[in-house]
């Protein structure tokens, strides 16, 4: 069976969920071969094998952490040369897309980004994408070279399928361009303890109606009662009430959780572009005319300062 390269997104060997989704999708196309760059390959291999990686190609080198993107492209290219895969799958993070794009040029291939589903087809993998602010669903394929496809988080449920997951060292020679962009310093983002926004099953977002940074604790309390991530609209972010890293929308993150709770958000096109593919959408807004109500499965027209705390209490009571 053909091999499919899967680029591993991890933190020191702790594999992030989108990679498990990629392994699950990769099995529809062939035998997944994981590419693990940086520390922690042995630890990661246990998880990668559990989800179907027949092999883990591992390389660890200071270049990956000290220089931006290009060393990782060199390594992925080395893996590509070693395996001659039927497809290369990369998580749709900002960095993942850049790595995938540069690889595509090097190997003379087309690239599809932000796929939300993937199937085997007669002429190679068929990718489903959600485009024009989720107004259209497209089916596309790479028509030249080896398909390079990035896949959005929450595209499928990870399914375990134990495989060998044998670790093999990958030999990488870095090109002279690999040290072009130096990472002078890195400040890890402080963890909120909540799920990562793009990976979360439930997202609770606040917008202009939250009316101040000091009120976001109401949104956070609801999120915590549901085990959810916290998002914010561009209006709330631009006002400085919540960090940009939590922005949901066209210029922020696109999310596709099982449940999206929009509070005090009117639902401008920019925001809808970032959350419209959520499976279930609920909204709380005092303006009955807000466009967000066109999208909802359930909406409450009311003051979020009354409704949200009441909802949080009720959720806590029901969860016991």
């Amino acid at each position: 069976m053909a091999e499919v390269l899967v680029y591993v997104d991890h933190v020191d060997g702790a594999v992030r969920k989108p990679t498990l989704e990629l392994l699950t999708l990769a099995r529809r196309l062939g035998d997944p071969v994981a590419v693990h760059l940086g520390a922690g390959a042995d630890e990661a291999a246990k998880t990668l094998g559990e989800y179907g990686a027949v092999k883990v190609l591992a390389a660890d080198s200071a270049e990956f952490a000290d220089y931006l993107v290009v060393p990782k492209v060199d390594a992925l290219q080395a893996a590509y040369d070693a395996v001659s895969p039927a497809a290369v799958l990369v998580p749709s993070s900002a960095e993942g897309k850049e790595i995938a794009a540069r690889l595509a040029v090097r190997i003379g291939s087309g690239i599809i980004t932000d796929a939300v589903d993937l199937e085997a087809g007669d002429e190679g993998p068929v990718a489903t994408q959600s485009v024009f602010a989720a107004a259209f669903t497209t089916k596309s394929r790479v028509s030249k070279g080896t398909p390079v496809i990035t896949v959005k988080p929450n595209s499928t449920a990870p399914e375990a399928a134990p495989a060998a997951g044998t670790v093999e060292q990958l030999s990488v020679s870095f090109g002279e361009k690999s040290t072009g962009t130096k990472i002078v310093s890195r400040t890890p983002r402080e963890s909120s303890g909540r799920p990562e926004l793009t990976e979360a099953a439930i997202v609770v977002s606040g917008g202009r109606g939250v009316n101040g940074a000091e009120n976001f604790h109401i949104i956070e309390a609801l999120a915590d009662s549901l085990g959810a991530a916290v998002g914010a609209s561009r209006a709330a972010v631009d006002a400085g009430w919540y960090p940009h890293s939590n922005q949901v929308g066209q210029t922020g993150k696109t999310v596709s959780p099982q449940l999206y709770v929009a509070t005090g958000i009117s639902g401008a096109i920019q925001h809808r572009a970032g959350m419209q593919t959520s499976k279930t959408i609920v909204a709380i807004n005092k303006d009955a005319e807000a466009p967000i109500f066109d999208l909802v499965d359930y909406g409450v027209v009311g003051d979020l300062f009354d409704v949200v705390p009441a909802l949080t209490e009720e959720v806590k009571t029901r969860k016991g």
Binding site: A94, R102, A135, V142, L226, Y298, P309, A310
Partner: protein, 261 residues
């Protein structure tokens, strides 16, 4: 020495309009008004600020697109860019991102550059990969997704706010930079700027000028193929209730029915 800045911009269908596909499954540019991609305004703004801080700088704004795409160039010129280059050729219709990056790279090399500035993504395709593709093709450092950027002593410095960390980056010129919507509000063109833009030079280039063969671009030359585009089915109308004191409880009840609680 003069700092040559090239800003890559895209003419896109207005995201607030009702965007569609044409019969050949390329973007329908007839049904919705076009404009300079909002995210590219941030690139123009940062180029202007870099130029203001430099002793001597010249900003060229570059686009690949149909005749209407001149509107995007005019907007950037009216904001303060010095001149424009428009790559226009009937054979370009349907070119995908890999092909577009090849065309832009040739045009950038022909124009001459020390710094290329791009927006973080287009507001139509939203791929966000073009800046990295340009860096790969030009063989220069990529310093991408910056929320802050500065150029001093032949080096570009910037801050990249990633998912898990904030990074300070540094690279020597020439380089490709992309900036996010956090880099600073774009200025509005002044009346004087709009009038001045009418007199600024717009150079037109076609595929021959760039030594690019027609079969390397266009719909038939594309590296990817769209086989199907289906409008998303309208959502069935949901339940909307007015809060009479029980709104929170009612919503909790709905979430329980759907097994979220």
């Amino acid at each position: 020495m003069s700092l040559r800045i090239v800003v890559c911009v895209k003419y896109v269908p207005d995201a607030t309009g009702d965007r569609h596909f044409a019969e050949d499954l390329t973007t329908d540019r007839e049904s919705v008004d076009g404009l300079l991609s909002e995210l590219d305004e941030y690139a123009v703004e940062q180029a202007l600020q870099i130029s203001e801080d430099a002793d001597d700088a010249e900003i060229t704004v570059l686009t690949v697109g149909p005749d209407d795409a001149k509107d995007a160039l005019r907007k950037a010129l009216s904001m303060g860019a010095d001149k424009a280059v428009h790559v226009e050729d009937d054979d370009l219709h349907g070119t995908d991102v890999i092909g577009t990056s090849a065309v832009l790279a040739k045009a950038i090399e022909k124009t001459g550059y020390d710094l290329v500035v791009c927006g973080m993504a287009s507001t139509d395709g939203t791929m966000g990969v073009l800046p990295a593709l340009l860096a790969e093709r030009l063989g220069v450092p990529q310093v991408t997704l910056l929320s802050e950027v500065s150029v001093t002593d032949g080096k570009v410095n910037g801050r990249r706010d990633g998912d898990t960390a904030t990074e300070q980056l540094e690279a020597s010129l020439p380089a490709v930079v992309s900036v996010t919507d956090q880099s600073g509000e774009a200025r509005y063109p002044s009346f004087k700027g709009i009038m001045a833009a009418k007199k600024k030079p717009v150079e037109s280039l076609d595929l021959d000028d760039l030594d690019i063969e027609a079969d390397e671009v266009g719909l038939d030359g594309a590296w990817t193929k769209v086989d199907d585009a289906t409008p998303r089915p309208a959502r069935t109308a949901g339940t909307v209730v007015k809060d009479e004191g029980e709104g929170g409880k009612q919503l909790a009840e709905f979430l329980a029915e759907r097994k979220f609680v």
